[in-house]
């Protein structure tokens, strides 16, 4: 009985850890995509503003504004925000 419980705990731990690694890896990928979009999309219209220039809250409004003006998808908007927040 104890063996079964320990085995199940080990299996669950491995699943949890691999899921955490997958999420972290996905976040890194989103940040990398966001960095690429930030460097290429913003400068088409205006000088790029550095992530440090605005607070995270203020960036959320600005990115919604830019989602409309620049024709970004929701995912592209989130990726750019992820990059901005990770850059501070």
């Amino acid at each position: 009985m104890i063996h079964i419980i320990i085995k199940n705990i080990l299996v669950l731990s491995v699943v949890f850890m691999s899921n955490t690694v997958l999420i972290a890896s996905q976040q890194e990928e989103n940040i990398a995509l966001g960095a690429k979009l930030w460097s290429s999309t913003c400068v088409r219209c205006h000088n790029a503003r550095m992530p440090q220039e605005l607070s995270n809250n203020a960036w959320e409004y600005s990115m919604n504004h830019m989602r409309v003006r620049a024709g970004l998808t929701g995912k592209e908007t989130k990726n750019i925000l992820s990059f901005i927040k990770a850059s501070k």
């Binding site: 000088n47 220039e53 607070s55 409309v68 970004l72």
Partner: protein, 362 residues
């Protein structure tokens, strides 16, 4: 003299903003987990002196923009444009006031008065801290060849990339523009979003933009519908109205390239008291700027033409900007103006202009 003091004071205030940036760092107010407000916008101080004009033009623009959001599903944005100058005085207009519902990843529904989705200058370049020169290209200002704003609704968003090529779209339905005589006597297309009776007639249009390279966008816009005109007895008459626009934005290796062509065509109406024949309002410009990063300077050159049934102007602009930060800059420019229908060197259309501007985006 008092204008000089005002200009000097505002320049000093602008310069002091350089050291006050942290004050603007968090300008949002979170009313709850989902609801909040944010203030942003831009401001500018202008000085222009033109040949054959007795006194220089001195003016200031303050354009606060309010954003209000509900979670990530709705955002309202409204811009007031408050101008004060030594020719018109004080003027305040609602540049836009519209809400967008983000329906899904690729679709937003925008409702209200919003900047015309036709082309890119009016919608994306007009704020003074974004525009590389102190004024708009010929024909791209208010009542020119390019529509300014519309009152209606739009479906817009980004499309899923195809083989890494991104693209975006806008489809809109809006109020009919107005064909009228301006206070200076010129016949204009008043393509502003406003509540004008039009008996259900309006315009439908859209823009498609494609990013062939990461930092390049090519756009094509079309709109079609009716334009209204009020004749002497107050009766409303209609004409056909069509808009075509092509635009380009490209940023590569510190070079910033922009170009746009717009044409508005007005049909005929034999009941008109303004002009029976209608006509074509056409403008285009091409602009190149280069940022010398380590010196913080940015030379700019722009050439543009604007033609309608009454005028035919061309303009070559040479400018140089000093960038204090990415959104605070001082601009100097000299414009060579040419009136193709009037050879007189005394005419306004042939008068060259020197321009200075301090622009701040916040």
């Amino acid at each position: 003299m008092k204008w000089n003091y005002l200009l000097l004071s505002l320049l000093c205030m602008g310069y002091s903003l350089l050291n006050a940036e942290p004050l603007f760092n968090d300008r949002s107010i979170e009313l709850s987990d989902k609801v909040g407000l944010q203030l942003s916008g831009y401001a500018a101080l202008d000085y222009q002196t033109q040949q054959n004009e007795k006194s220089p033009f001195v003016g200031a623009v303050f354009a606060p923009i309010l954003h209000a959001k509900y979670a990530n599903i709705f955002q309202f944005e409204g811009e007031l444009e408050i101008t004060k100058d030594n020719r018109v005085g004080t003027n305040t207009i609602v540049e836009y006031a519209a809400g967008t519902f983000f329906i899904n990843d690729y679709l937003g529904l925008q409702v209200g008065k919003f900047l015309s989705p036709v082309g890119q200058f009016v919608q994306n370049q007009h704020p003074s801290w974004i525009n590389k020169l102190p004024d708009a290209p010929l024909g791209f200002g208010h009542d020119g060849a390019a529509p300014s704003s519309v009152l209606g609704l739009a479906l817009r968003g980004g499309l899923a990339p195809i083989q890494n090529i991104r693209s975006n779209y806008t489809l809109f339905i809006a109020n009919a523009p107005v064909y009228e005589k301006a206070p200076d006597g010129d016949i204009i297309i008043n393509a502003e979003g406003r509540f004008t009776p039009s008996h259900g007639r309006g315009i439908i249009g859209g823009r498609y933009g494609i990013n062939l390279f990461n930092s390049m966008e090519i756009g094509a816009s079309l709109a079609s519908g009716k334009i209204t005109e009020t004749i002497n007895n107050g009766k409303l008459v209609f004409r056909d109205y069509k808009v075509v626009d092509f635009d380009l934005m490209y940023n590569i290796n510190s070079f910033d390239i922009k170009a746009e062509y717009v044409k508005q065509t007005i049909g005929t109406n034999n009941q008109s008291t303004l002009d029976l024949n209608g006509g074509i309002w056409r403008a285009y410009y091409g602009q190149i700027a280069y940022q010398v990063d380590h010196l913080h300077i940015e030379p700019v050159i722009r050439y543009g033409e604007y033609r309608n049934p009454e005028i035919n102007y061309s303009q070559l602009s040479l400018g140089c900007n000093y960038l204090f930060t990415s959104s605070i800059m001082a601009k100097l420019a000299y414009e060579f103006n040419h009136d193709k229908l009037n050879a007189s060197p005394q005419s306004i259309g042939n008068s060259n202009t020197f321009l200075m501007q301090l622009a701040i985006g916040f």
